[in-house]
Symmetry: C2
Subunit: 475 residues, 2 copies
């Protein structure tokens, strides 16, 4: 019932011409009211957001056609996002409101938090421990090498004449891997349980911590010209305390909490609610101490082993089947029971999956939508950006070399995507006056390129590895 | 990494006293930056919202203890919301930010849209048709009686000396039932398939349409002193066109769409995505023509019959079991197959359920949070409010009398809750200058009382009916 709709109606339906004055009056009266009620938390804007969610979800699902080309569906989501977000270059403005819709931005962030929570749930904490040392090495190398490349090589070479502080910040933006993209590729291709995937996940969490320390140090150097050991120690201690604390305390208390809550109420709703609330709380705490929320969500998922929730069952299927086969031979009864038993537990992963279907694509499509293709049209900036991107690639590929007895290039390329952490660093540098608009644009392009190039490369590497293994078998 | 945290740390940890200047400097530098990045769509606010979601979800689940008292869990969610929202009266301000968090408000709205979509899915369109005429009668009476009571009885009696226009608006705010509360009660008590529930659902959708027409008429009378038949006809036509169009076109095209999409991609993710997108789109369209979004979501759910999605299966359980029992006697094989077959389809209801677990409680807890108990402390307003509330009750209880051969009081009381539609009407009246602050407060109290009193009354009536049926059986 807004003004423009009414006007359109007035134009097209001559039948109602006589009523024009009434319509216009009503529209003029109602419009500001609806506006006002919107500001007071009404439903006007929300309904538009509903439409955007529907558009994003359908676009994401249609883009999953890329799976037919052997590509992970995350690539399709990113690409369809880039298309939707850049139709404006062809004069089509209809999707522009998505870019400024804060609720969509929130749902995207919630989506990536849910994704990392899911991936934490699917990750095995024992396996993570096994690859812990290698993940740590990969993280260290993957932070140090890009930082040095950015600060001492690419910066002075491509952007001569700037202050050392500017180079320092450039180096810092190259440190932290954005694990969402890689995790989705591993997941789409069903490779999350491989050692390579576990190393990348572990290293990505750790390099977020390392990146945080570097940011603190670099910020201190820029603002007060010095840095104290105590400060670095405190920031490091907070981050380590959070990660170790979450995992250790979680492992100790989760089983007890599960028992207590099971006594109160034993439904699948309770199970899901507790799990999600735990994930969101840790995402919040991670943010509070300066880590990315996804790190907290991942830690939460890692802690929540399905076994802690064994008290919450959904035994309907099983009891149905058991009742029916009770006259069957013992042997068959046992076989059927074994087949059906896993379905007695609606695993927390299964419960969260639909929420993932709903929210996760929003993150990737919105990531694509926010890619500004026009930044690629400025040649000097583009060249600088390509230089930075090469440094971003090399720095992480090198880190794969210390991953031990696994496919080193899969680990290395898996570490390449940079994302929001790098952008936040760049934004802080910009506000401190050491990162210029040009460097900022170049960093944005680097983020875009590492984001868009990694899925196809990683897919290629993973499939090549499969083929090798198969060939070996045949020989 | 915000200022207050750092300050606290400085106070408690004497170890770091020497570092105070550095900390403060860093905090002062980082704080505005984080603030800035927040405004540019950063993650700072989002993480806080994550925490609020966790708080709301855990509170909602703890409140489900009321189920032990035989009450529907929706009552627990409302009450815990009222408690959280009014702790401020005891000087506790920590939950205040929830009230102004727009993202939480959006998630609440999305929650009630998902709920009505679920309820539409669970409603049987054939059954709705059977009760259609009775629902229509209930809707008409349930709109006319409260409107007359408000405009000609309660208004002049309790608020003498006001303009007739003020009474008109007061009457209008009493017309539309807010179906969310009642639907949840029916659902919590597993009564959604009863004729009473179907009549209430149908009537609530229809009285939203009737309410819209009344709003248009009343607004026109207030602003231009007259109303044209054409205008009423157009608004009515739009609303009817939407409802009938959605249901008829949906029934015709949904099967074909299902087939086409099944050819592209046959996953449960696709099924869920299409269904939700359809629901959200209809919610948007409903809002666009002036109806409540929940009406669109309900229509979408009604249209989407599971049969349209039979091409999307999740046959793993079934094939597992079939493989195992293939040597068993024929008779047992058949029995087991029959038991397991329903689980081959992951029904759209099952897929949406976890999303409902996640979002629906947010709506009800937030509804409770926004109840301002201090409005009850003003005696004159409270008395007016009680008068209006009595009119609100009587008007809808009377409507139950025309519901035919069902439990008339269940239908009548089921229609009682008023909600956002009434509040929007009141807000429009306020902005037109005919609804005073006092009447507005009284209307808010009426909404609160109809919302909080209906669940226990309806539960009592539904349980009494069960007992009667049981007693009859035993005789």
């Amino acid at each position: 019932m807004n003004v423009s709709t009414l006007k359109t109606n007035l134009k097209t339906k001559s039948f109602y011409h006589k009523l024009a004055p009434f319509f216009l009056l009503l529209a003029l009266v109602v419009s500001p009211v609806v506006q006002a009620s919107t500001e007071e938390g009404g439903t006007h804007d929300f309904a538009t957001t509903f439409l955007w969610i529907a558009v994003i979800l359908v676009a994401a699902k249609l883009s999953s056609l890329v799976e037919r080309l052997g590509q992970p569906s995350v690539l399709g989501e990113l690409v369809i996002g880039v298309i939707l977000g850049n139709l404006v270059l062809l004069g089509l403005h209809i999707f522009e409101p998505i870019k400024t819709d804060l609720t969509i931005a929130f749902l995207a962030e919630l989506g990536v938090v849910i994704l990392l929570f899911q991936i934490g749930l699917e990750s095995n904490i024992q396996k993570m421990r096994q690859v812990g040392l290698r993940a740590f090495l990969v993280a260290i190398i993957g932070v140090v090498v890009p930082f040095i490349l950015g600060t001492y090589v690419v910066g002075p070479l491509l952007l001569p004449g700037l202050s050392f502080n500017a180079y320092l910040f450039l180096g810092a933006t190259l440190t932290a891997t954005s694990v969402g993209i890689t995790a989705r590729v591993f997941r789409d291709l069903n490779k999350l349980q491989t050692s390579e995937a576990q190393i990348v996940l572990g290293a990505a969490v750790l390099d977020d911590v390392l990146g945080l320390i570097i940011l603190a140090v670099v910020s201190a150097i820029v603002t007060i010209g010095a840095v104290s050991f105590g400060m670095i120690a405190w920031i490091t201690a907070k981050a380590i305390l959070f990660l170790v604390g979450a995992i250790v305390l979680g492992q100790i208390f989760a089983p007890y909490l599960g028992k207590i809550f099971a006594k109160i109420h034993t439904g699948v709703g309770m199970k899901l609610t507790l799990a999600i609330s735990f994930g969101l709380t840790l995402a919040y705490l991670a943010q509070k101490i300066g880590l990315a929320p996804i790190v907290g969500a991942f830690a939460a998922g890692l802690v929540l082993d399905p076994v802690h929730f064994r008290y919450f069952k959904d035994p309907k299927v099983v009891s149905d089947v058991k009742e029916i086969i009770k006259d069957a031979p013992q042997e068959i009864q046992q076989k059927v029971n074994e087949a059906v038993e896993p379905h007695a537990h609606r695993h927390i992963e299964d419960l969260i999956e639909p929420i993932g279907f709903f929210l996760v694509p929003i993150f990737f499509v919105v990531t694509g939508i926010n890619v500004k293709l026009e930044t690629l049209f400025n040649l000097p900036i583009l060249l600088v950006a390509l230089g930075i991107t090469v440094a971003a690639f090399i720095g992480k590929i090198v880190s794969g070399l210390v991953a031990g007895k696994v496919n080193k290039s899969i680990v290395g390329f898996g570490m390449i995507p940079r994302g929001e952490v790098g952008l936040i660093f760049a934004m802080i540098g910009k506000s401190l006056g050491v990162v210029s608009d040009e460097i900022f644009s170049a960093i944005v392009i680097m983020v875009i390129l590492t984001t868009l190039l990694t899925p196809p490369i990683l897919t290629f590497l993973l499939k090549r590895q499969d083929k090798k293994i198969e060939t070996k078998r045949h020989i």
